[in-house]
């Protein structure tokens, strides 16, 4: 079993390298192999080379954001024992988005660290709020109640985002790209700012894996196995919110990666979080890069933002999960 999992992880990593190369090679401007190699060697004289040079940070950002969102989703699913959990569906991304919009519109937010801090705070507040609302009433936080609370909160927060933005034509255009969700404007210094936060979140989440494995057996059994249930949940949730907040701060709200990827990965490597989480990160990075390449290629010379592509892939998948019988169990 472990060998098979290892093979899957290896294959996933291999695909990821190919996708990353494709992401550098393909774009809304066609370039030759010669130009590509020259550019990767550090030459940025021609137009083609310049395009390639711009695509490298973009690819790196897509990898990081994809991995972060997928990890965040997988962790949220484990923490809430809810197959419908995802930063987008639970309203966590919208919380981050609203916080950033308010920061830009009313407090003149422009510092990248400020973006991340505010986005993470917004994500955390939204997460706590949705969980609290979803826990009301009988039976506690059931999957469907959480998903409903998340969807309602998400819709409300999105309207608030529009309400803040509409009278502010001055910031509307800068915000619009961010809002749709994209990695097009990637720059190395922004990546450098966000990377430590993503790394910290990833480390927290991966180290929580074993505790999350016991939580999957039910709270009583987890406690019987020596897991501090509340503390494990809180720490893992913190990691997930950090991942989602930082990813959203840099790329805008991108939906469905956190939902789709963990489910697909579970089919492949099983439900052991120690395997699932790393594999999820690889697959999430792959999906986002692939979606980004697709968005650049299908509408030449225009681009379709990656957030739109993932939504097109994710929405049918969401319906498929909801229609499956075992939606209540995880």
């Amino acid at each position: 079993m472990s060998t098979a999992r290892l093979a899957w992880v290896g294959a996933g990593a291999g695909c990821l390298v190919l996708l990353a190369l494709a992401s550098v090679a393909f774009g809304n401007r066609e370039i030759s192999l010669h130009e590509l190699i020259a550019a990767l060697a550090g030459d940025a004289n021609g137009v083609g080379q310049a395009a390639v040079a711009a695509r490298v940070p973009r690819t790196v950002l897509a990898l990081l954001v994809g991995a972060a969102l997928a990890l965040s989703g997988a962790t949220m699913q484990a923490v809430t024992r809810n197959p419908l959990a995802d930063p987008g569906i639970l309203g966590v991304s919208s919380g981050a988005a609203l916080a950033v919009v308010i920061g830009i519109a009313f407090f003149g937010l422009s510092d990248p660290y400020g973006y991340i801090g505010v986005a993470t705070l917004g994500a955390a507040v939204a997460a706590v709020f949705v969980y609290a609302v979803g826990s009301l009433g009988r039976g506690g936080a059931t999957p469907l109640k959480l998903a409903l609370a998340g969807a309602a909160t998400s819709a409300a927060l999105s309207s608030l985002v529009s309400a803040v933005l509409l009278p502010r034509v001055d910031i509307l255009t800068t915000f619009q790209f961010w809002q749709i969700g994209g990695v097009g404007g990637a720059e190395w210094d922004r990546i450098g700012v966000v990377a430590p936060f993503l790394l910290a979140g990833a480390v927290i989440v991966v180290l929580s894996g074993r505790g999350l494995n016991t939580l999957a057996l039910g709270d009583d059994l987890a406690a019987g196995l020596g897991t501090q249930v509340r503390r494990t949940r809180l720490i893992a949730a913190l990691g997930a919110v950090l991942l989602c907040g930082a990813a959203t701060a840099v790329a805008g709200p991108i939906g469905f990666v956190g939902l789709v990827i963990p489910h697909l990965c579970r089919l492949v490597v099983g439900s052991d979080q120690r395997w699932l989480l790393p594999f999820t990160a690889i697959a999430g990075a792959g999906l986002l890069v692939a979606a980004d390449v697709l968005g650049r290629v299908v509408a030449r010379p225009e681009e379709i933002e990656v957030g739109i592509v993932t939504a097109l892939i994710g929405a049918p998948f969401f319906i498929w999960i909801v229609r499956r019988q075992k939606v209540r169990a995880l």
Partner: protein, 266 residues
């Protein structure tokens, strides 16, 4: 195997919010023996088991393990001494038997520690002891109720604790599988001297398999002792409010409760 681990409930009061469930209850678990906790629905027997497993902190009094208050010991350390099988544990979708049993090794593993040979051996021994070694690579979803309960018991065995607490381990099982599970627990008790405490609904099975019966009524221990002494028509009437006749089981000589309903009794 040492029989030294002493689990004692010292005048514990347990409540969910304002609702008092167990009232100043005292109980010394007999080391190396099988104890069955019996009582009517809602009498507090499962709550008592949760407290013994440190899942619920007493409002007053304390649960003491080897002279030290249970809640003051690191929870992972306690998990190497006391195993718990709750009433309805959750099997993650698609998990295979060996993986699920392996999760019982959690208290023996550190944050960074790798899966060790001791872990492998414990899992193999647990699969053997429960007779499910041939199911090791099967998905838990595909198993029958009886097989599934064996898997959960195997998981508890892999935890390698001297004390094992089980909340109604025979619910949802047909009569053959009930006997099978209780035989398995009796084997474990005989072979390793594991102290077993279980909540059981069926008085006759409790009388047959337990060395000690703890009859709980309205949050207190109503009677405690060997089944032959404790299980009487009087007790059944007081604890369950049921009119019955208790005879000696022709197979075992243990008490056998024959309920006297309002119908079909001459």
């Amino acid at each position: 195997m040492t029989l030294t681990h002493q689990l004692v409930a010292d005048e514990i009061t347990l409540a969910y919010g304002d609702r008092l469930v167990v009232d100043e209850l005292a109980l010394e678990v007999a080391p190396g023996r099988i104890t069955a906790i019996v009582g009517a629905n809602g009498c507090g027997k499962s709550t008592l088991l949760r407290a013994l497993a440190r899942l619920l902190s007493p409002k007053s009094g304390q649960v003491v393990l080897d002279g030290v208050e249970l809640n003051s010991r690191p929870t992972k350390e306690v998990a190497r001494l006391i195993g718990l099988l709750p009433q309805s544990p959750i099997a993650p979708e698609g998990i295979v038997v060996a993986d699920l049993v392996g999760r019982g090794r959690h208290p023996h593993q550190g944050l960074f520690a790798r899966w060790s040979r001791a872990d492998d051996e414990a899992v193999a021994a647990a699969l053997d002891a429960t007779g499910i070694a041939d199911l090791a690579d099967r998905s838990v979803d595909e198993l029958s109720g009886g097989q599934r309960q064996r898997v959960w018991i195997a998981m508890a065995l892999a935890q390698q604790t001297d004390i094992l607490l089980l909340d109604e381990p025979t619910t949802f099982l047909d009569v053959a599988h009930q006997i099978e599970v209780l035989d398995l627990l009796a084997d474990l008790n005989r072979a390793r001297g594991t102290t077993i405490v279980m909540v059981l609904h069926d008085l006759n099975l409790a009388s047959r398999y337990a060395d000690e019966i703890v009859a709980v009524c309205r949050g207190r221990v109503h009677a405690l002792g060997e089944p032959g002494v404790v299980v009487t028509a009087e007790l059944v009437s007081e604890v369950f409010g049921l009119d019955s006749e208790v005879i000696a089981d022709p197979l075992t000589g243990k008490p056998l409760v024959l309920p006297r309903g309002r119908h079909h009794v001459s």
